[in-house]
């Protein structure tokens, strides 16, 4: 095992050497002769160090300044700082502790004491870090399971009425955003972060009562009769009663309490014209008020068996005009203020878990919209399955299976692009496969950032990517490819500044089959490959094979 690394910061060469002499048998010792030099070393490789021995009185930047800097940027999360000084006045010692020092060693140095103090500190720090890691892992595992349970529940409840399964997840997100805005606006509803999280989680249960409604009524495509509507209306009370039927100790948990309120009162309206109890104003618990608004907004903007989807603007107008009943005016204000989030982010409801960087990429893919191309669009019960099936595990973008199964035999794609990394073998051979992988990940991220949510990027194999476009004007298509090429050409890889990335791009545009477009794009890519770092596009029309090559 590598020795742990210690940084000694002291302006006296003799003192540094003395400490190094005591420590270098067991540790890897690095020296800095003033505070500024220490900060420079740490800013480059702070994660390498387990401990910092810091003198107080030094030129350039003294020990207190170094401590304050380290503490400000929370570098001491990963290493401990022990002060070493000849000045052992209580004021100095207290100040050092206040600034985040872990311990204080007085001069003169006693080798046994120094060694013991340091090894104990290291042990304690390592143990603390290990425990923190365990807690974080457990927390995420718990979160993962909670989210999974909620998505399963969403599918069960919504499976029956043939809806997307995403309604519950979206209501949950809108509820969270509305509540976060609400607490910024008013202190009338004293909600902590934990309360907000609790309410948004409980919101997933708002429609559980619907399982008691018969299929004929629940999934009736046309307008409901008054009698049928009365049946639908029972779902709120039924849902609340289902929760009331839970064993007493479960009923008393905060989540069940909040969920009961939401189930029962998420169809109440602010003016008292809702159901089942006709509560008005703040008689309706805030959790139910918020979920009611989130529910209405999402119902309006989604397609249902009895209606088309309204646009965000239309939905907002209908809500603000009171067409869906009266809501708390402050909440309406909050809804208006989260317009951007509603329009952009809420389309994406992939679960938040797992590897952060890959997750970022995954989150930027709108699977559900893209999967509307699917041959079998009614597989509600395994909606998340395609994410794993169709995802390239290295880059987080689509894999070849996705292309083969979803596009290969279709004829409604406007343009296909084949993109190949120049000299990829050279990168792997000279910098190792690890660097090759990083390059592919960065490229995937860069390409994703250049395309629209409705376009798709696929890792076709090795270092070859395929891009699919629809509804894009010819000149915009060409410009986009040029932009991708130039973006990639400007990329630098951390630690390998000399590595110049480039790609050869071939595009095919026009009303042809996917197979044909792919073949032409592939040929164009090979044309670009002759000179490398090029874009070659072929525009095809109905009759001719190609009308323009650039």
């Amino acid at each position: 095992m590598d020795k742990q690394k210690i940084l000694i910061v002291d302006d006296s060469e003799i003192n540094r050497a003395l400490l190094a002499d005591i420590l270098d048998e067991n540790y890897n010792v690095v020296e800095a002769e003033n505070g500024a030099e220490a900060i420079t070393i740490l800013s480059k490789q702070r994660e390498d160090f387990s401990l910092l021995l810091l003198d107080i009185m030094m030129p350039e930047m003294d020990g207190f300044e170094v401590l304050a800097y380290i503490h400000k940027y929370r570098w001491d999360d990963t290493f401990a700082v022990i002060m070493i000084s000849a000045d052992d006045s209580p004021t100095n010692i207290k100040r050092a502790y206040d600034l985040g020092a872990f311990d204080y060693i007085n001069r003169p140095f006693d080798s046994t004491i120094v060694q013991r103090r340091i090894s104990n500190t290291m042990l304690l720090y390592a143990r603390q870090q290990r425990l923190e890691k365990i807690i974080v892992e457990q927390f995420y595992e718990q979160e993962k399971n909670n989210n999974l349970m909620i998505s399963i529940l969403s599918h069960i409840v919504e499976f029956r009425n043939g809806e997307s399964g995403l309604h519950i997840l979206r209501v949950k997100s809108i509820t969270k955003y509305l509540l976060e805005k609400l607490v910024q606006h008013t202190d009338r509803y004293p909600l902590s972060k934990a309360d907000i999280s609790l309410i948004s989680t409980a919101s997933a249960l708002h429609d559980i009562g619907k399982i008691s409604i018969s299929d004929q009524v629940l999934n009736k495509p046309g307008r409901l009769t008054e009698f049928e509507f009365e049946i639908i209306k029972t779902h709120s009370m039924v849902g609340a009663n289902m929760l009331l039927g839970l064993p007493k100790e479960q009923q008393e948990t905060p989540i069940v309490k909040v969920a009961s309120e939401i189930c029962r009162w998420h169809h109440e309206r602010y003016d008292g014209n809702g159901y089942p109890d006709g509560l008005r104003g703040d008689e309706i618990p805030i959790a139910a008020q918020v979920v009611a608004l989130a529910d209405v907004y999402d119902a309006l903007t989604s397609e249902r068996c009895y209606k088309k989807a309204y646009s965000h603007e239309e939905a907002m107008e209908m809500i603000l005009e009171g067409q869906c009943g009266a809501f708390n005016p402050t909440l309406l204000l909050c809804l208006q203020e989260i317009t951007e989030i509603l329009k952009n982010e809420l389309m994406d409801t992939s679960p938040k878990q797992g590897d952060k960087s890959i997750q970022d990429i995954r989150n930027s893919i709108d699977y559900d919209r893209l999967l509307s191309h699917r041959k079998h669009p009614t597989l509600h019960w395994n909606q998340h399955l395609p994410q794993l099936l169709y995802m390239d595990s290295l880059t987080g973008i689509y894999n070849r299976r996705y292309f083969d199964e979803q596009f290969q035999s279709t004829n409604d794609i406007q343009a296909i692009v084949v993109l190949d990394v120049d000299n990829f073998k050279h990168i792997n051979d000279n910098y190792g496969h690890g660097t090759g992988d990083v390059v592919l990940q960065i490229l995937a991220k860069t390409i994703l950032s250049c395309i629209r949510k409705t376009d798709a990027v696929i890792r076709y194999g090795g270092d070859e990517f395929v891009l699919i476009f629809n509804d894009i004007p010819a000149n915009a298509f060409e410009k986009k490819l040029e932009r991708i090429r130039s973006f990639i050409n400007d990329l630098t890889i951390d630690g390998i500044p000399e590595l110049q990335l480039s790609v050869s791009i071939g595009g095919a545009y026009g009303p042809k089959t996917t197979k044909k477009l792919f073949k032409v794009a592939d040929n164009m890519m090979y044309q670009s490959k002759n000179k490398k770092n090029r874009v070659t596009v072929c525009f095809l029309d109905e009759n001719e094979d190609s009308i323009d090559n650039i």
């Binding site: 302006d11 003799i14 003192n15 001069r107 080798s111």
Partner: protein, 120 residues
Amino acid sequence: MNLKDCYLKLGGDFDEVLGRLQRKQTVQKFAYKFLDDKSFNLFEVSMEKKDYAEALRAIHTLKGICQNLSFTKLLESSTVATAALKENDWNKAIDMIQQLSEDYYQTINAIKEYKKSQEE
């Protein structure tokens, strides 16, 4: 001349330093290193230039080294000078130069003499 005699001559505490650093070779190595240390010189030059902040840093460093090497006599005078400079008592610091210089050279000369005896 052995190392203990050297410490006796420079007014230090050999048993104390050996107790802490544990090995005679280590004590000797750092005593030799002290011959090259520039702190005292920096202190003198800074005092002359009336750069008291720099003088304080230098004498403070010297004090730390003397603590570590148990150079008791030089430690005492450098402690007094450090305190004087910390309290902005320039005159007292200036008065200390003479004493410091005597103690410093007593230390240096004892080490040099010891070193020479080892080389013979």
